[in-house]
Every structure is written in structure tokens, then in C-alpha cells.
């Protein structure tokens, strides 16, 4: 069966150019730039740098600015939508950090004040407001986040289990990104001049873009999403590959995904940030793929670079290009760089556009490209893939007890493994050069990645990386903000800024293995690993490609107790798990899939979970035990959900409340997943974990790893 066309039913956009499609179109046609001196937060010294800031945003201290941007764009996209979408997928890099920065400076110690900090809180906020009870996912792959979120949505819709998804990206301006990009000398003091021979950098900006995607033809579709391609440079934490190797691979993958030849593209919406390196690498990639290139331009001289929002905002602009027959100009470019071998579209032109290729590239060499066409476009000539499960061939975990063997030995005795591996112990297991510039989370990640690969027999290194982290690199973020404040905003650390992005650890893992395929970091609070698993099982192709699936979080003595309501300074624990996965079930040690992801605390969540698992009778007959993740902060809700689950299937099953053993941290479920895979392979579950004798597993038996609380999730583990 061939794929259905995925329609873009409607779109929402909030950018420095204005709010909504009409204002945006008018600004594009006028070739106006919205870049101007920073106003939204006060500076301790020096003249403000040029930025792209959104005007006319609903005011008020709460929720944070990023949430208000997301709400406004989501409201527009959902205005004519009769029922909530089946899922929400947002790209985001800094969440509510603008508010967090202020709170930290005020010395606020009340953790409730920080409840909007996490990236997860934006997707959850939109899901709660529109009544979405399916997954609310957050993708954090730096400046490609918005495009990667839309790519994930496209593939979820193609799977056929969902009919509509609200997908996009959002970021607000913050001190972290304003001073961070400045410390990297990537900001042009003269405003942003993409593709200009004299370009000196980007202008940090903010905004939100949202697409309502659906497989059912809406009455007045705006456009169609024809394809998406992801890749990773696996080259450097910030600099693009000089020849644009990863950019080229992502563009090629997107064209192939849309079943289109390069000649079929009428307009290329460039990433075009205005930094000397990006624009040159992107130009080289384009010239190597398109001869000659179609009309192309960058809008970032008009909007600035809104980071995670950029890919989504430019997807909306691409919709305008096909629906309003326009090619936007490259505002700010006066003297096109002769090194490129092409001349960009300088001013907005009126001409028919059938298909657009839109590029987004980010730190960590994270690339995402989208192909957008008119609603009458042909669907891609590609079969629907039956992505039933992921096959596990190797694993690793880190806990307070140490690595996999030490952790399992302790668990077999029924003893807890909660705690933190000492910094020295962690550092001693990794080459000094490899970890010179990275702190705890990226170190944990690299150790997990190396050990999972070493545990895998007769397989190539992974081609793709999928990572879940609840809170990202807390050490780098904390240190960056502290030094910024301590030096009266004079001496922010470029190294800490680079390390602070949520996808920095996954980027490090990609460089370790030269993993040049998809590289996706999900950040979903206590369900981050589940979100990464969903991304992996959705995006990993059927064709032999392998991936590393990682979940990790660091316990930070200052930040963690403030941000994660399940953590106190006394119970600090961290670590994570990693699985080497592909689609080859035959020699696999264990198979897994994410079978359910629901949210919203609705009373029917357990009923829907049971239906997704094949019904009460099937669950009773083949589930040997449940590993239940019940975060302290969601204990009442989690206990209720678990009791209701057992009520509905008619019998209690042996339960391991795994956080009693792993300790409290957002990606504890990654350790539980590694435990479940190990028990399936060994054929038994240690009795000490379930308060009984050892459970011997029969061939058809499954282990269920449930996540409870704010969301209800189920990962299944079973034998090949």
C-alpha cells in the first residue's frame, strides 16, 4: 500500500515580522526587516545587540514568554479544528529559561516558581489547553528542532495510527542564547546579512510556528507535507562540515522521501543564518546537488534566527510560497558572496511555486530538511512500512552501583542501586581528550554509548542516535548562568554554552561513532526515554539501519531539586541506560516497542492502555511482571492508575516499583528498560524486586515497563 498524502490543514505563526499569515505575507512582500536592538530584558552593560523580537505579545509574568508564543501560534493553527489533534510535537531548545534566569537572580528557592522551566512544559501546556490526550512530545535538536519535530509528525502520521498532529517549534529570547551566541562571536553587530560577502553572523530571535497536519483532506488545505530528511554531520559540536556533507545528505533524504528529483524543487528556503561558515557550507551542499539551483533565499535577515522555532516558522513561510505564489527575498543581503556560485533571490518575487525545500541545521551537526508542496501534489511513491518493534542487540546502564554488571548484581540481591557515580570514577573511564570540554550529562552519555556498543556482538557502529533526557545538560547551563551573573554579564563561557544545548550529548555520541543518520533528542520530563523510543521506532527505517537509543539525566545539587519535583537534595541520583537497536529480530536478545503513550490524567487512560496492549485477557495471559515508574511527585496519580489497571485486567500482576531501586531521576525508565531486556534474555525476574520468589519467564512472556503520573506510558519487552 502506498502512502497517503499528509495535508497541512492550517498554520500558526508568530515571528518578529508579525502574527498570522496575512501580516507575515505583507512583511515578506515589503522586504522589511524586523531586526532591532534588544529590548525585552535589561542589560547590565553595553549597547544592546540586534535581535529579532516579537511585538504585541500578551503580557504578564506567567507563563513564560516561550509558552505565550506557543499558545498564540497554536491557537491560530487550531482555530478551525473541531477536535483536538491526536498528538502534539514541538521543537524547543530553551523552554521557560528566560523566567528561570530571572528567578535565579532573585534567589528564588520555591520550586513551584520553576514549574515552567522544562521543555516538556510547553508541549504539555498546549496539549492541556486543546484537550489532546495523545503524546505531547518535545524534540530538542538545537536550531533544527522545529523541522525535526515536523519530520517526526510526518512519519507518525504515515504509520497510520494517528490522523492529525499539531507540530511546530518555539523559542523565546533569553540571556542564555543572547550571550551564548555572542560569546561564540556568531552575532553580527550590524544586523543579519545572510549570503552577503560581508556577513558577520546571525541575529538571535524568537517566535513560534505550528502546522496542523492531517491525513484526511481538510475542506481548504493550505499545502501538503511531501517529505522530510534527517542527518547528522558527526563532525564538530558547533561548526558545520565545511563541504556541507550532512546538509547535502539531509536534502537528498528529504527529496527521496518525497519521491522527487532535485529538478522538481521550485524554491529553496535556506537555513541561511548569516554566519560565514553556515552560509558557505550550505551553498556548497546546494551546488553539489542542484545544477543549476532553483530560486533560493534566506528570510533570517528579516526575522533573525529563532532557533527551535526557525524550522517551523520557515515551514509556514514555505506554505505561503506555494499557496500565495511568492518567493521571499534575502533581506539584508546587499552584495551576494561571489564564492557561492549562485545569486540568491534578493527581493520578494511573485511567481508560481509548486514545491519548496526548506533547510534547518543546528549545533551538533543536526540537520533537518522538509519538502512542502501544494495540496494537489501527488503522494510519495513509497510503500507504508510496518514498523512493529525494535530489536535489541546490546545494552548498557549506569547507576549509583556502577555499570551494567554491577547494577544487575545488586538488583539480583533485591538491593537499591540509587546514587551517583563519583565524578572521578566517571572521568577515569573515558579518554581525557574526549571529555575535556563536556560535563556530567555528556560524560554519562558517552560512557553509556561506548559500553552499549561494546556489549553488541558482530554489528557495525550505530548509524542513528535517539536520546531522551528530562533536563539536559544541567551542569553547563548552571555554570553558564552563574558565570554570566558573577561577571556582571561580561564574561559568559562559550564552552559552557555549546555544552548546554539538550542535544550536545547525542552530538558527542554521533561523533564517537561517526553516526551520520538521524540524531534526535527528545525531552519529555519523566517520559523522556519513552519519547526517544517512540521517535526511534517511528523514524528508524526498515532497511537494516541501526541506532543507539539512550536515556540519561544528571543529578545536579543546585538545579535538580529546584526543577524536578520528585528530587530532593538528599536523594540525588542519576545515570541512565542505552540499547543498541535495529529491525533484525532474528538474532536479537529481546524485542521492544512503545505500545502506548497517553496524557492528561483522564480517567479513561488505563482503559486506553489496555486496549493498546490487546485487551485484558491478552495482558493477563502473557505479562509476567510490571516494572512501574511512579515518580514521587506523581505518586497519588500513579498509584491510582496502577490500581485501576489491575482492576480492569481482573488480577494483580507482580510489580517492581523501579524508582525504589534506581532512585528518582527523569530517565530512570531507561534503566528499567535495560533491566527488562536483561531479564527477558536471562529468562527470569529476580524475586527481590517484586517481593516474591524469582519469576521464571516462559517463551511467550512479556515484561511491561509502565510510566505513570502526568502521562501513562507502556513499553513492552519480549523474546524474538
Amino acid at each position: 500500500m502506498n502512502q497517503k498524502l499528509v495535508y497541512i490543514a492550517s498554520a500558526g505563526i508568530v515571528s518578529p515580522l508579525g502574527s498570522g499569515l496575512a501580516q507575515t505575507e505583507a512583511a515578506l512582500r515589503a522586504n522589511s526587516s524586523a531586526i532591532g536592538p534588544l529590548e525585552i530584558f535589561p542589560l547590565l552593560q553595553g549597547p544592546p545587540l540586534p535581535v529579532g523580537q516579537v511585538r504585541e505579545l500578551d503580557s504578564g509574568p506567567m507563563p513564560p514568554r516561550a509558552h505565550r508564543l506557543a499558545r498564540q501560534a497554536a491557537q491560530m493553527a487550531l482555530a478551525d479544528c473541531p477536535s483536538p489533534p491526536d498528538a502534539i510535537i514541538l521543537g524547543c531548545t530553551t523552554g521557560g529559561i528566560l523566567t528561570t534566569e530571572q528567578l535565579l537572580r532573585e534567589g528564588e528557592r520555591n520550586r513551584d516558581a520553576y514549574r515552567w522551566h522544562g521543555l516538556f512544559s510547553l508541549a504539555e501546556d498546549i496539549a492541556a489547553l486543546c484537550g489532546c490526550t495523545g503524546p505531547a512530545l518535545t524534540v530538542s535538536t538545537a536550531c533544527s528542532s522545529g523541522a525535526v519535530a515536523i519530520a517526526l509528525a510526518l512519519n507518525l502520521l504515515r504509520g497510520g495510527r494517528m490522523r492529525s498532529i499539531l507540530a511546530g517549534g518555539v523559542d523565546s529570547l533569553s540571556r542564555l542564547t543572547y550571550f551564548g551566541f555572542h560569546s561564540l562571536q556568531l552575532v553580527d553587530r550590524n544586523g543579519c546579512r545572510p549570503l552577503d560577502a560581508a556577513r558577520q553572523g546571525l541575529a538571535v530571535a524568537e517566535g513560534a510556528g505550528m502546522l496542523l497536519l492531517t491525513t484526511e483532506r481538510p475542506p481548504r488545505p493550505l499545502a501538503a507535507l511531501l517529505g522530510a530528511g534527517l542527518s547528522c554531520d558527526a563532525h564538530h559540536p558547533t561548526a558545520p562540515h565545511p563541504e556541507g556533507q550532512g546538509a547535502r545528505a539531509a536534502m537528498m533524504a528529504a527529496l527521496e522521501d518525497a519521491s522527487l528529483a532535485p529538478e522538481a524543487i521550485d524554491y529553496i528556503n535556506l537555513h541561511g543564518t548569516g554566519t560565514p561558515d553556515n552560509d558557505l557550507a550550505e551553498a556548497r551542499a546546494i551546488v553539489s546537488l542542484f545544477s543549476p539551483p532553483p530560486p533560493l533565499s534566506s528570510i533570517k535577515g528579516a526575522t533573525g534566527h529563532s532557533l527551535a522555532a526557525a524550522g517551523a516558522i520557515e515551514a509556514v513561510i514555505s506554505c505561503l510560497a506555494v499557496s500565495r505564489s511568492l518567493v521571499p527575498g534575502t533581506v539584508g543581503c546587499r552584495q551576494p558572496d561571489p564564492a557561492f556560485g549562485f545569486t540568491p533571490q534578493r527581493t520578494c518575487a511573485e511567481q508560481p511555486v509548486a514545491t519548496v525545500l526548506s533547510n534547518s541545521f543546528g549545533f551538533g551537526g543536526n540537520n533537518g530538511c522538509l519538502v512542502i508542496g501544494g495540496p494537489e501534489s501527488k503522494p510519495p511513491r513509497r510503500p507504508v512500512e510496518q514498523k512493529e518493534f525494535l530489536a535489541i542487540h546490546g545494552s548498557a546502564c549506569l547507576s549509583g552501583a556502577g555499570s551494567l554488571a554491577a547494577t544487575l548484581a545488586q538488583l539480583h540481591l533485591g538491593l537499591p542501586v540509587a546514587g551517583q557515580m563519583a565524578q572521578d570514577t566517571l572521568a577515569n573511564q573515558l579518554p581525557a581528550k574526549l571529555i575535556r570540554r563536556i560535563k556530567r550529562l555528556a560524560r554519562l552519555t558517552l560512557l553509556l554509548a561506548g559500553e552499549a556498543q561494546a556489549d553488541t556482538v558482530e554489528k557495525e557502529p550505530p548509524a542513528a542516535i535517539f536520546m531522551g533526557t528530562g533536563w539536559g545538560a544541567l551542569s553547563e547551563t548552571w555554570d553558564f548562568l552563574q558565570r554570566l551573573t558573577d561577571s556582571a554579564e561580561q564574561f559568559p563561557s562559550p564552552i559552557d554554552f555549546v555544552g548546554s544545548v539538550h542535544n550536545s550529548p547525542a552530538g558527542q555520541a554521533a561523533m564517537l561513532f561517526n553516526a551520520a543518520s538521524a540524531n534526535v533528542t527528545a525531552s519529555g520530563g519523566d517520559y523522556s526515554f519513552e519519547q526517544a523510543l517512540l521517535a526511534a521506532q517511528t523514524l528508524l527505517p526498515e532497511s537494516g539501519q541501526s541506532a543507539l537509543l539512550i536515556g540519561a539525566d544528571e543529578g545536579h545539587p543546585e538545579f535538580s531539586p529546584l526543577l524536578d519535583p520528585s528530587i530532593t537534595a538528599e536523594n540525588l541520583a542519576d545515570g541512565g541506560g542505552a540499547l543498541y537497536v535495529d529491525r533484525q529480530g532474528k538474532q536479537a536478545r529481546c524485542l521492544t516497542r512503545l505500545s502506548f503513550y497517553g496524557r492528561g490524567g483522564g480517567d479513561d487512560l488505563p482503559e486506553r492502555l489496555i486496549a493498546a496492549l490487546g485487551g485484558a485477557a491478552a495482558i493477563r495471559s502473557r505479562t509476567a511482571a510490571v516494572l512501574a515508574g511512579i515518580p514521587t511527585a506523581g505518586r497519588a496519580e500513579g498509584d491510582r492508575q496502577l490500581a485501576r489497571f489491575f482492576d480492569l485486567i481482573g488480577t494483580p500482576l507482580p510489580v517492581c516499583r523501579y524508582r525504589d531501586f534506581t532512585g528518582e531521576f527523569a530517565s530512570a525508565s531507561a534503566v528499567a528498560a535495560v533491566m527488562a531486556a536483561a531479564f527477558i534474555e536471562a529468562g527470569s525476574v529476580p524475586g527481590g524486586l517484586v517481593g516474591s520468589g524469582d519469576i521464571t519467564l516462559r517463551p511467550g512472556d512479556r515484561l511491561l515497563v509502565l510510566g505513570t503520573g502526568q502521562c501513562l506510558t507502556a513499553m513492552e519487552f519480549f523474546r524474538p
Binding site: R436, R437, F491, P494
Partner: protein
Amino acid sequence: MAPFAHLRVVHVNHNTMNELVEELKVKLIHLLNLTDLTPEQFDPQAQLVGGELGIDSIDVLEMVVMVERDYGVVINSQEVGEKVFASLASLAAHIQANRQGAAG
């Protein structure tokens, strides 16, 4: 050491270039986390960026911040930067030559 003690500006008069070179060795080992290098092993004439230490453009930016903070010397062009960070010795020479002017 207190978490941000290394950020405090140190006002010391350097009588000789050698003292500055020795001071920079310690600073760079700490700043760039060169844990497998001792000050004695740090060759001031060796290629600093792109050499065996694995130092690249991001480290250069971190050093730019340090030089401004601790010595009041601003390095804001890539061209100058490339010459200045060729070796630890050239960095020391640049600081020595520009320090008084910048600070005064």
C-alpha cells in the same frame, strides 16, 4: 577551590615574560581542562590551536574571554586571533605588548 575563584581578576605585575608564560600555562591547563598535561610539559613554542592538544575554535573563544577578563586585552578579529593563538609564547607576547595600553 571555590567554584568561581578562577574568575577573579588577578592584578599582578609581571617583571618578566617568563613569569607570564608560566602563569598562562597554569591558566590554560585549568581553563581548557587539559588534565593530562603538566605545566612542565607545556611547550610554549608548540602549535597551540589545531595541534596535539586538540584545541580548536571554541577553545580560542574561551581564551579570548580569559585574556580580556584577566589582562584587559581585547582580541576581536579572527585575523589577529590566528596570529595571537599560534602558540602560548605568541599569546604571552601579545598580552605583554597590549596590556598597559588596554588597561591604562
